[in-house]
Amino acid sequence: MSAGGPLVLGIESSCDETGVGIVRGREVLANVIASSVDEQARYGGVVPEIAARAHLEAMRPTLERALETAGVRIADLDAVAVTAGPGLAGALMVGVGAAKALAVTARKPLYGVNHLVGHVTADQLHATGAEPVPVELPTVALLVSGGHTSLLLVRDLVEDVELLGETLDDAAGEAFDKTARLLGLPYPGGPSIDRAAQDGDPTAIRFPRGLTAPKDRERHRFDFSFSGLKTAVARHVERTEADGGALAVADVAASFREAVVDVLVTKALDACAATGVPRLLLGGGVVANRRLRDVATTRAEAAGVRLRIPPFDLCTDNGAMIAGLGARLVEAGATPSGAGFGVDSTLPVGQVLLS
């Protein structure tokens, strides 16, 4: 093993980003991402077949750019890691096919890993020359993207990750996309709703906060639901049009965003209180949302919870976090997955590594 920790290449292809990252221990040497977001834009959401086709085209060039950026040779790698799930099956298979060929032809150990645990690992990575980030465990982690909305309790990255709750319908990012479409705003919905909400009044319309009523909290205390919110926005838009009024897009966008952010932060901090863990980690592409970061920062401070938000390029789906998780597994002496594992689009978060 090389000095500074294992040299690991990670491949990520669970949704619409083709990511290849290379880490040495916790140091990120390369984090190259090719996205099909522009091709998805005209459809207003991620079309699995478009994502899978884009992965195939991007995979080899992305691998080459990552190796070039890191300045390492394939022969020098200690291991290869790849996202095996959860995610879009056809998209995952492109990454797994590439990773297996890489591992078998270069004769490297291969780790098929859990995408969500990769998001948590992102917090432990640092850029070359930057101060190493101290690892703080246990932590509650809130992972929010177009593909997932999950609350986790992480006691140990490799051995003990527990799912506290997740969305029962749409992912938060998906709710942003669908609401943007309702309001005639472009895809992806996160940034366009953020822009539209800038001059809006977040208290103008009281949209519902899913699964926060006392009876829901009994069974779904840490679960999320955004379909009711989306319907409420649709109803509001339709009523306004039926009444012949002008739609106050800024107010609707701001009120919608406030409802999403409120539920996310409230449930995450409730999880910290319930588990007695005063640490909260944010991850996933929705972390780009300024309002989410601001509200989380203010309320976490008030609750005495230490908040961690990795740099944005490690929050979105990326290969470095997968490489980082691979490096942790190598350090922990985990048995590699071998060459025969398959993808699992609903891989449970408790399963960090495929065998």
Binding site: E49, L56, L92, K100, A101, V104, T105, T231, G340
Partner: protein, 201 residues
């Protein structure tokens, strides 16, 4: 040596020498587990061939069901990168056509394969090219069974060994390789919601 991979139907991996002689090959007929099988097959075939020096990687570009097809293409392109080998894309049906020719089938005939959704992929072959390999009459097409070309049909699994032979002999005769793009023959299936459904009931 040439490494050949095809996942347009089954999962198949082979090593072929520069003269087109088969060194090692494996085929798994399971059409639902390409991502699982590609690793062990690749490993076993390379071991059986004695971990040879590979300077070209041939791969099937379809047509075939997309999800599986991409697994082999991604694997082959990555293997070429690792091994410092050139990529030799091959139309997957060419391998089936070669087998038919070797069995004595006379052109014209069509290689026909399941395209799901009650449709078929079909490629018509009319003779031999400069390398003595199957020569196509036009491009592969997808359509309902009733539209299939009125020539004898050939159906069979794509064997990477034969695909490798096609690639090796074409390369030896200076026949340019196929375009590297997957032969999807269908645009990505999308339904775009243009009309908003009422939620007021």
């Amino acid at each position: 040596m040439l490494l050949a991979i095809d996942t347009s139907g089954a999962t198949s991996v082979a090593v072929v020498d520069d003269d087109g002689a088969l060194v090692a090959s494996l085929l798994d007929e399971d059409v639902r587990a390409h991502a699982e099988h590609i690793g062990p097959l690749l490993e076993t075939v390379l071991e059986r061939a004695g971990r040879p020096h590979v300077d070209a990687v041939a791969y099937g570009v379809g047509p075939g069901p997309f999800t599986g097809l991409r697994v082999g293409m991604a694997a082959a392109r990555t293997a070429a990168l690792v091994l410092g080998a050139i990529e030799l894309p091959v139309l997957s049906h060419d391998a089936v056509a070669l087998e038919a020719l070797r069995r004595g089938m006379r052109p014209a005939f069509a290689v026909v394969a399941d395209a799901k959704r009650r449709e078929r992929f079909a490629t018509v072959y009319r003779g031999l090219d400069a390398a003595g390999m199957p020569a196509r009459d036009g491009e592969p097409a997808v359509g309902p069974e009733t539209d299939l070309p009125r020539v004898p049909h050939v159906i069979g699994a794509v064997d990477a060994g034969l695909l490798g032979v096609v690639a090796a002999l074409r390369r030896a005769h200076g026949v340019p390789p196929e375009a590297p793009d997957a032969r999807y023959l269908r645009s990505p299936d999308v339904t775009i919601a243009t009309v908003r459904k009422s939620v007021l009931g």
